[in-house]
Symmetry: C2
Subunit: 205 residues, 2 copies
DNA sequence: CGCTAAGCAGTCAGAGTTGACTGATTAGTG
DNA sequence: CACTAATCAGTCAACTCTGACTGCTTAGCG
């Protein structure tokens, strides 16, 4: 620690990049092979990194996966909010919003989260790390949902309950895709959700 | 195979009992330690069975866990339908039905299912075994739900959609308990579900 | 231009897991 | 009561994973 604060610049940058590569690889492997298959060996291979380097940054597998959790929460994984041509018509808007929400559940981060959630159940330290990270994620999801519906609809009375109902139900349905490999865009629940949203928001029509 | 069909009686019985002990142990360990922690060693220990015996019945870990899936589907795990003193008042009945449904998600079989679902995602043979078993489970859940609500309510028009919405949403919420160890009986979503059910079934009040 | 310390590569021992294998046992047959 | 074949107990080799360790490399200081 003699010259701490010096010798940085380039090194810090390299280090940051390497860490990100490792964490991205960890999440990729996590999604592809599940928690138990996400070994440090496979992750280091996926990241194209030597063992020494990986272990230098993340001294243990747990530390690595905990870091992956925070990485997941920090990354702007939900960049679906970029759509700009939302329909004017409220009914149309609701339909599109529900579809956009649902598309959100067909993304890698969703499975990464689920793998982590389940694993956290029987691992105390992972659970401790996951809880705050997951609150962040929850807020992100809510914000995204709001942007899908637009301020005109989100200000309606039953909205926040509807949002919760939709998100929890979609999570419950998305999980079935672990077994059934259907086309999410044609899920039979879509109509159900749209109808629910219409009635919840536009009942006194 | 000389005298196949003979030498049974006692042996078959013993065998059946031993198998059940092993499968019960497998599910217990699965719930307690998660998929990756459910090793054959731990299961044989929990079952109080020698390695030879376990491997005689289930030649591989995969075979054992696939069998555990079917075991789970075959067992009457949801014996909550035994309640007899359902309220007469519809509003009360709906409230109790929702609470009873929700209590269903605070049982070991739920976590066993979730562990298996997630694991099936990256294991072809497990997935193949899980799909039909899970259809059976789905039917059981639906039947249970119906019994909670009673024929008077299940015959109403919006019922089957409501049932699906409640079950998927409850699954989505129950998953958060992997991280947050709250009291399920006080879950804030209960009011939401009750209100939803009331409106869906008794709207033209 | 030598020097220091952190970053990093590659190796390895130890722990844990799986499933094969060798005999012993047991149930039921003739 | 001998005999047969399945059942079962206990051991073990092969493999995998983790994290510690040794030493090389690199960046920046004086």
């Amino acid at each position: 620690m003699r010259d701490s604060g010096a010798r940085q610049r380039g090194e810090q940058e390299r280090s940051r990049v390497a860490k990100k590569r490792i964490l991205d690889a960890a999440l990729k492997v996590l999604v592809e092979t599940g928690y138990s298959g996400a070994t440090t060996l496979r992750i280091q291979e996926e990241a194209g990194v030597s063992r020494g380097r990986l272990l230098n940054y993340f001294p243990s597998r747990d530390a690595l996966l905990v870091a992956a959790v925070h990485h997941l929460a920090a990354e702007p994984v939900l960049d679906l909010g970029s759509r700009t041509d939302w329909p004017q018509d409220k009914i149309e808007r609701i339909s599109v919003a529900v579809e956009t929400m649902w598309a959100t559940y067909d993304q890698p981060y969703f499975w990464a989260s689920m793998e982590l959630w389940l694993a956290a159940r029987s691992r105390d330290d992972l659970r401790a790390a996951l809880l705050p990270a997951e609150r962040t994620m929850g807020a992100m999801v809510r914000k995204s949902t709001d942007s899908f519906f637009g301020s005109e609809l989100t200000s309606l009375v039953g909205y926040s309950e509807l949002r919760e109902l939709l998100n929890t139900s979609m999570r419950g349905v998305a999980l079935t895709y672990a077994m059934e490999r259907r086309r999410p865009s044609q899920d039979p629940h879509l109509d159900m959700w749209k109808k629910l949203a219409l009635e919840a928001l536009l009942r006194p029509l």
